[in-house]
């Protein structure tokens, strides 16, 4: 069996390991655009803020491919995939034949339209090289502009603030991380960031950048100007599908996959940020471009590629974000689309906590927790499992909630009733 994997992100890495475990003798080839050993992408912002170095990023050793018996072509990009002839072509004109293929090419930053984008010190923040370049040009930068308040925009702003750079963040909704949190948690996050020196501008878009070689200012559509020695564009990501022939493989926003993570072409699989599967809370097709989902999908795709039939139930969006003195944990549908959902909230200003639960038909489908997040995993697994809640929803809002409360009838008392007469 000839296995080929495109991409050495975490989805690709888990697939390689899983395939090798199940098929000790198959030939495995990897084509990976990045030359670094597999590393932790979410941690690049910790290199930017100075709390980690690049040496802390790898999640597998330099001998990873060799130890697994994987033939790796790194620094090479797939430019064409012919699903019918079952061959792919790289930018070094290499043709690679496959029996089973995994597309784990991740995502690319969404580009923006504006004049002057060719100026220096305008960055995306997606990979280790980007952050290396950003750090190299930090010298003398006092003000930075961050476009977008999503996970990446937020992390870029937070990291630059920690470096002592004055940051202005330009966002569309009234608060950052609007895809991850609800308005209340969003305003707590905003307050915390503003308290620590962030400037936030809502609404306006950039139409042009100005500078002499390096960016010096940004002009907004409302006519105003923001001076900035550095710009980070964090306007979301798009699945990296440009090398696919869409007449051969079904692509929506991401590459469409079934419950075995197989694409519309038998033998070709997709996993991670590039794949569009099913969201268990939304109950619809969805790309959940997050690390734990890439791990899960890489493993399931690997198993199916190596001949072990495993189905994937669907992914759940989830995030945990720590901002100065605030911990925020969210998952599932945090902003219900209509009023058929039951929403329970509790605020405790003294403990500085906030909890919000979203229910559909007696099942938990969304969650926001601010501070005291330790029980978050219990609730996320309830959402993921799609179980009905065995207790009153209000009981989950109690600060003393713990996993034992979910099994009111299982233990002890059965025995007590029978024996304790």
């Amino acid at each position: 069996m000839r296995y080929v994997v495109i991409g050495n992100g975490i989805a690709g890495v888990h697939a390689l390991e899983t395939i090798r475990k199940l098929d000790p003798n198959g030939s495995i080839t990897l084509v990976a655009g990045e030359t670094f050993p597999p590393y932790c992408r979410p941690m690049i912002s910790l290199v930017l803020d100075g709390s980690l170095t690049e040496e802390d990023l790898p999640v597998r050793g330099p001998d990873f491919y060799e130890a697994l018996g994987v033939e790796a072509f790194v620094g090479e990009h797939v430019v064409d995939l012919d699903a019918e002839r079952r061959v792919l072509t790289t930018d070094r004109n290499r043709n690679i034949l496959f029996d089973r293929l995994l597309i784990a090419s991740g995502a690319n930053p969404r580009r923006i339209k504006a004049q002057g984008l060719e100026l220096g010190r305008i960055f995306f923040m997606r990979n280790q090289m980007h952050v290396r370049d950003m750090i190299a040009s930090l010298d003398g930068v006092e003000e930075a502009l961050v476009l977008g308040g999503g996970l990446v925009g937020f992390k870029a702003a937070y990291s630059l603030m920690k470096r002592g750079v004055r940051v202005t963040m330009l966002i569309r909704s009234g608060y950052p991380l609007s895809m991850q949190v609800d308005a209340h948690a969003g305003s707590m996050i905003l307050d915390e960031l503003v308290k620590n020196g962030l400037t936030v501008r809502v609404g306006a878009e950039v139409i042009a950048f100005e500078g002499n070689g390096f960016v010096r200012a940004a002009h907004l559509e409302d006519g105003s100007t923001i001076s900035c020695g550095m710009v980070v564009i964090g306007k979301g990501v798009r699945p990296a599908t440009s090398f696919l022939r869409t007449q051969q493989i079904a692509v929506d926003l991401g590459v469409l996959v079934d419950e075995r993570l197989q694409t519309s072409v038998p033998g070709i699989f997709a996993a991670g940020d590039v794949a569009e599967h099913y969201d268990v809370a939304r109950k619809s097709r969805w790309v959940n471009a997050i690390w734990p989902v890439a791990v899960e999908q890489g493993r399931v795709a690997g198993m199916n590629m190596a001949g072990r039939d495993v189905s994937y139930k669907g992914s759940l969006s989830r995030n945990v974000i720590r901002i100065f003195d605030l911990d925020v944990l969210t998952g599932g549908l945090v902003n219900p689309p209509d009023d058929s959902y039951l929403v329970l909230t509790r605020m405790d200003p003294r403990r500085r906590t906030y909890r919000k639960l979203v229910f559909r038909d007696g099942r938990l489908v969304g969650l926001v927790m601010v501070n005291e997040i330790e029980q978050g995993g219990v609730l996320l697994s309830l959402i993921h499992g799609g179980h009905t809640l065995p207790i009153e929803g209000e009981a989950v809002l109690e600060p003393s909630f713990n996993v034992a409360r979910l099994f009111p009838h299982q233990r002890g008392f059965l025995q007590a009733r029978r024996t304790g007469k």
Partner: protein, 203 residues
């Protein structure tokens, strides 16, 4: 291999396991010494209360595959296969709380610890008292537990105990006294439940 096996129906909620756990992970190895240390040692076992106020000792299950391990961003969570224990490398941990999202039992806490560089908060959870086990001691929580809720035993032996108990219960001719495995604890729990129900019915 012996493991700490939890028998939640026997927990009286005394929390001695928490104190013993914190002490076992302190420098001084004593409760009195531990309270004077910095960072103050904290327990890795947490006695929660169930719906009727009954005790519930919540401790890492050392799952395999472990969801926390798969979710860990820096790869700080790993398994010691020989001891069947999931461990956290305090130097690699970045305190991102990704494991808080993954643990279905809610047993991980975030704070400073003796094992971590000074001033650094890390994810902390049960390590099966490997340090004690290497010295021939049993895990501190099981050693201190008086009610038999935490016992260090062979899983197979425990399973046999449970099977025997059920067999006794359903056998013909069993004597009344045979039924209750721990009659006093069962009574205590029944009492807690009754109290709660009475409270709820009060206008």
């Amino acid at each position: 291999m012996k493991k700490v096996i939890v028998h939640p129906e026997r927990c009286v909620g005394c929390m001695q396991c928490m104190a013993a756990c914190a002490a076992a992970h302190s420098r001084s190895k004593s409760v009195h010494g531990a309270v004077l240390e910095f960072p103050i040692p904290k327990p890795r076992i947490h006695v929660g209360s169930g719906i009727y106020g009954e005790g519930f000792p919540n401790r890492c299950r050392h799952c395999d595959p472990a969801p926390c391990m798969l979710a860990c961003l820096p790869g700080a969570i790993y398994r010691d296969d020989s001891m069947e224990t999931v461990l956290i490398d305090p130097f690699r941990c970045i305190n991102c709380a990704s494991c808080a999202m993954a643990c279905p039992f809610g047993v991980i806490r975030y704070h400073e610890d003796r094992a971590a560089p000074p001033g650094k908060c890390i994810a902390v959870k049960c390590d099966n008292c490997l340090e004690r086990q290497l010295q021939g001691l049993i895990p501190a929580c099981a050693e201190v537990c008086k009610s038999g809720a935490l016992r260090f035993e062979e899983p197979a032996a425990d399973l046999k105990d449970k099977t025997d108990e059920i067999a006794r219960r359903i056998s013909l001719g069993a004597v009344e006294g045979d039924f209750a495995h721990a009659p006093a604890l069962a009574l205590l729990n029944a009492f807690k439940r009754a109290q709660r129900e009475v409270n709820e019915r009060r206008p």
